[in-house]
Amino acid sequence: MAPGFPKRSVWLIAYTLAVTLLCVFVFTGNGLIDTAAFLALLVPLFIASDFDKCDPRVGMPVFAFVLLCALPIIGMRNTFYLDVAIQVGIFAVLALGLNIVVGFAGLLDLGFIAFFAVGAYLWAIVSSPHGAALLGVGFPLQGDAFFVVAVAAVFVAAGTGALLGLPVLRLKGDYLAIVTLGFGEVIRVLANNLDKPVNITNGPQGIAAIAQPLTEVAGALATTTAPAFKWQALIYYAVVLTLVLVAVLANRRLDSSSIGRSWLAIREDEIAAQAMGIPLVRTKLIAFATGAAFAGTMGVLFAAKQTFVSPESFDFNQSIGVLAMIVLGGLGSIRGVMMGAGLVTILNLQVLKSLSAGLNHLRATGFEIFGWSFANLPTQFEPSKYERLIFGLILIAMMLYRPRGLVPAQRRPISAKNAGRVS
């Protein structure tokens, strides 16, 4: 970009500030317009992160402003938005993890959510009264052990990934997909049934009263206008944001390293890759374990945030959901994958719900259009009820018109100068 201050940057900054002000002072509710305003606030994130078109000197501050300033303020006024942001963050890291497995290494994994479950149950068991009964003295762990367990979950999940990967990674393509699907279900079924003979997972009832981290900090900060639960949400937001940052960094660094090139080579042509000296099983295992590690860490966070886990949260649909995010965003493209995670999560959590709410409102007030009253609208006609349908239609349209995703992956030229320095 040219030196000086190009017009586009001025527009970007002005737009971001204007939408922020609108969100903070005008559209603070949960209605359709509020949702639209919130979505409008996320647009600068997308534009500012495209360093090919946007000067990083402008993009980075705008990006930081939205994430560190605008979103927390809006979220503290209406925690729902903070919740949405946290969910997006959780799924963004999951998507980045799966991106390593599917996007980089080309191993279709249909049971990815299993590793998320491993992390979630890990924290649930060590930090809940249920776990205390099982593990005995010293348990449950205090909420602040969260950070230690989150790091431990990296290794536990990676280990699980390697363990599951070892027998299945000799398979290719469709066969691998089917077996991973099976393993994903096995983990869920285990969670559902490991309440006897020894009650480990508490079966279908799930585990409740899971400890949360930094509750004393949230309590100390609490005021009448900003009660503790809002601060707790903000703490989760900060943790999620940090984890997303770590995940993006890890993705980028691995992508530009020799292991990342090996993954890509395996995806492109296994036989040629192996003939060039790349050990297939080992390289694939590393991809599998790395992806699993991402999911495991987020599982710990998920369990803490929900304070409750049950097998239902880890069914096959969730695996497909994360896969859809990365396909929608663009396999192998870090920006695309994040965007896919954001779009799908917001669509599920927010857009369809507020569309439903809007329609219900019109029905309740008997709003008429061309003499036809909305009161006649059948109750089945409610967008949140067929989110999967809408979702499916979007996916079909994407595959037809943009098969490589919203932000297709690109290979960046390497020069002797930037070698080993991409971060």
Binding site: A250, R253, L254, S256, S257, S258, I259, G260, R261, S262, L264, A265, E268, D269, I271, A272, A273, Q274, A275, M276, G277, I278, P279, L280, I286, R411, P413, I414, S415, A416, A419, G420, R421, S423
Partner: protein
């Protein structure tokens, strides 16, 4: 054959069901030599390559590269032992840049991998820089310096062939197997390929075994030629021996022609 043996393949055999694709083939390659394997289509040449590079496992026989038996090794272990190859139907990583293609083949010589990349250790950065420098040098060697950042799939056909050679060279092989390096090339490109093969030997000191159908290329670069037909070695020797060998003429042109052109040559010129 005398001299310093680099590759010593002895009585290699492979059957697929009832078909014996490679039958008791023996091949010796001296350090710094260029050996051609020729034969009609379906003679078992590529199968022979696949056997010694670990893609297929031979039923019988040994293949010693510098004293290391390659039989039973996985393809990546064969590459690590110092045997690199190209493919008959080009198998580049089409979605990666030319430079990245070469870098992939450098991976096994890079010690600081995963954690180094994650934490950007100094060792990792140094290693990455020197790998890029080496890979760029190899691209220059095959004349693709300008195309380093182009996607491999977007390169012209001849460029793709050369990139495959650069990629194979990046594994730092002792011996390079080229599977039809001049297939589909025009005469000028074939001349370039020939020059490149000779430079691989003279400048890099790497021995080359090539499968080739272009007889002018074979006859001018080879120190030694091996002829396969129906999986068996029917002749071997220098260019002049092969050109006039009755069994070779028979294999390529049929029995009638062979009878008419037959000259009182030695039966087997090895």
């Amino acid at each position: 054959m005398t001299g310093d043996l680099l590759l010593d393949v002895a009585s290699l055999r492979k059957s697929f069901g009832g078909l014996t694709a490679v039958d008791d083939v023996t091949l010796q390659v001296e350090r710094g030599s260029i050996v051609s394997v020729i034969g009609p289509n379906g003679a078992g040449k590529t199968t022979f390559f696949n056997l010694i590079t670990g893609i297929y496992r031979p039923d019988l026989g040994t293949a010693l590269l510098d004293g290391v038996d390659l039989v039973g090794l996985r393809p990546d272990q064969v590459a690590a032992a110092g045997l690199a190859r190209t493919f008959q139907n080009i198998r580049l990583f089409a979605g990666m840049t030319a430079l990245e293609n070469v870098l992939v083949a450098r991976s096994m010589h890079m010690r600081s991998g995963y954690w180094g990349a994650l934490f950007h250790t100094r060792v990792y950065a140094d290693q990455e820089r020197s790998a890029v420098a080496d890979a760029s040098e190899l691209l220059r060697f095959v004349g693709l310096a300008e195309r380093a950042d182009a996607l491999a799939g977007s390169l012209a056909y001849g460029e793709q062939r050369r990139l495959e050679i650069a990629r194979a060279l990046a594994t730092k092989p002792k011996l390079l197997l080229l599977d039809e390096p001049s297939a589909g090339m025009n005469p000028q490109e074939t001349e370039d390929a020939k020059a490149l093969i000779l430079r691989i030997r003279s400048e890099l000191g790497i021995a080359v075994v090539l499968i080739e159908h272009d007889m002018r290329l074979v006859m001018t670069v080879s120190d030694h030629i091996v002829v396969l037909d129906y999986g068996r070695k029917i002749a071997e020797g220098g260019a002049d021996d092969i050109r006039t060998h009755p069994k070779v003429i028979e294999a390529y042109l049929g029995r009638g022609v062979a009878a008419r052109t037959a000259t009182p040559e030695s039966e087997e010129a090895s």
